[in-house]
Symmetry: C2
Subunit: 129 residues, 2 copies
DNA sequence: AGTTGTCAACGAAAAACTTCGTACTTGTGG
DNA sequence: CCACAAGTACGAAGTTTTTCGTTGACAACT
């Protein structure tokens, strides 16, 4: 079974995807309003982006209503996986360890977060078959 | 004290930076040869890229010899930090934890690597001031 | 029927990135 | 001095990404 992988989204596309992940299926108007909380942008710009993203397969469109409703094709995790994989190859020579160390060094994490990571670490080490 | 941060390199630029990190200061010819091991590309293309990267401040150029010698302006770690920070903001809502978990899930790491990570984790938790 | 507001579609322009041909320079060997 | 090899500079074209103005459709309201 062949799994179609998400094309790597650009930064702008990612910003839109993040809105859709947060709000669920939404119209251009909704995405536009939400996006404008953070950054000024034109309505037709968002519309065009969503049209292009539809062509690329990043989102799907329900045209049954006059205002089309867009939803993401891939889960947030799928895309994150894609992006991490890309960065891993391009910048870290494929070493997840280096990336992780860098990430932990880059941004302080709370004790809770560190505990979460430790937990996963235990599973990975312990659950070794 | 103003810290000049590296502009985010594109994928192509990153490929060149990686050669320079690996080999140290090098001429266009050297970078070109090295790059062509993996992917076919033209000599003047590499030259042009290095010229542009010089303008952007990603590399510096020693023109004292006829064949100019290029070297990176920023360390591999500095750029990795920049890229991780970028991805963190754009795709993970700033949560290093999520990125780490994703990275560990994306690619299997060896026990040694996991141990390394655990070590850093201990330092971060223990070295709490 | 006419006006108004909302929407999708389209195309064009701008910006960023990538590639490479061509021209000019300089050093080397004949 | 001439030809050739290796190098840099430059500009142009191709590609991708981003932005937005304009147009036409459609519905609601008067």
């Amino acid at each position: 079974m062949k799994k179609s992988l998400p094309p790597k989204p650009t930064d702008t596309e990612l910003a839109i995807l993040r809105v859709l992940w947060r709000l669920g299926p939404a119209t251009v108007r909704t995405v536009f309003d939400e996006l404008n909380r953070a950054q000024a942008t034109g309505y037709t710009t968002v519309l065009k982006m969503l049209q292009i993203m539809t062509e690329k397969g990043l989102v799907r469109r329900d045209e049954s209503e006059r205002s089309h409703v867009y939803e993401t094709t891939f889960s947030e995790q799928q895309v994150q996986c894609q992006l991490v994989g890309h960065l891993l190859d391009r910048a870290f020579g494929g070493s997840a360890q280096k990336l992780v160390l860098q990430a932990l060094a880059t941004k302080k994490s709370s004790p809770q977060e560190l505990a979460e990571i430790r937990k996963l670490l235990n599973e990975l080490e312990g659950g070794k078959s």
